[in-house]
Symmetry: C2
Subunit: 214 residues, 2 copies
Amino acid sequence: MRIPKHVGIIPDGNRRWAQNQGMTKEKGYESGLDPGLYAYRQCRDLGVDEVTFYGFTTDNTKRPSYQTEAFTKACVDAANLLINEGAALLVIGNTKSPMFPKELLPYTKRCEPKEGQIKANLLVNYGWHWDLNTLAEAQQVNKNNIQENIQSFDISRLDLIIRWGGRRRLSGFLPVQSIYADFYVVDDYWPAFNENHIPDAFSWYNKQDITLGG
Amino acid sequence: MRIPKHVGIIPDGNRRWAQNQGMTKEKGYESGLDPGLYAYRQCRDLGVDEVTFYGFTTDNTKRPSYQTEAFTKACVDAANLLINEGAALLVIGNTKSPMFPKELLPYTKRCEPKEGQIKANLLVNYGWHWDLNTLAEAQQVNKNNIQENIQSFDISRLDLIIRWGGRRRLSGFLPVQSIYADFYVVDDYWPAFNENHIPDAFSWYNKQDITLGG
């Protein structure tokens, strides 16, 4: 079976899940922590080299503060879970804004992995425009070095993106790395993650052909 | 019903369709011309303001010459069909390469539409890296003006992208304009286009909610 080297995870549907459970919206985020660690472990054990989680975006920070506080805390907790696991964690996002949690500053340089662990990237206060802005400062940009000159240069090309929560859009998720990624949508909300979601996505991915335009 | 303002069309599956019909691969492209004109008219009549067709990319030009000649001819023919219809045609792509057909140079500035017609964009010898390269030359790029400083600045944000041929990936299609687009996949090959495909896609689009990250 052809296993994707790099998997993107868009863990959407936390607020809708919480409302369906009779909770207020912001309560959904902490229920996404266990799925995140499970997903990391499952990808690692299936042979993936790198996993990128969509934490929150600069657009998301326009929401009410009780929500932004809840998803920011969930991102800090997620980073700590991944560090404890021994992942080669990298947190990517706009650190110059007050919305970036200071606790995560040490992880904006990639951590050394423990034996047998893989790369895990967490987008925190990320914006696609912020990511591309550095192209304007680059000395010379050409066909082959765009990836090297964006803020997220240390995140590789995505092979497979899995989005939970039923929506079929990228919502600003790493536009350069997503260019040729196959896009798989799980209708279940992220906190309703189950152990079949990722294997099902991988089975589907295995049936796709890869042409890269050729 | 909520109608998308700007619809992207990825007309994939021409070669697979031709092979299924017992023809050689390159014969599929000309069978995509009638669907293209039908799709333009259908979008226009349903109230869309702008349609963008994915013609061919700089990556596609690495294919054997009998194929590149066939899809280049199909793009020239498609442009002429749209001009005859009276569309506000704009052809976008790297004109400095020999792979760009000279016949289309006059349309790299947007044509004036005839009464009742809409914008039609055709990507010809387009490359996502070529599109983003001009960011490096821009004097000052910020969150709000990335779109204004890319090569495809005259193509607006996409609301809905419809891809024929079953594949679920963007393959370099306008990465900046695709950021928040909803993505709908038709399993039929493009030359097997039928009149229900676009209305079905619009019905699905009508059920999506638009949050733009908020």
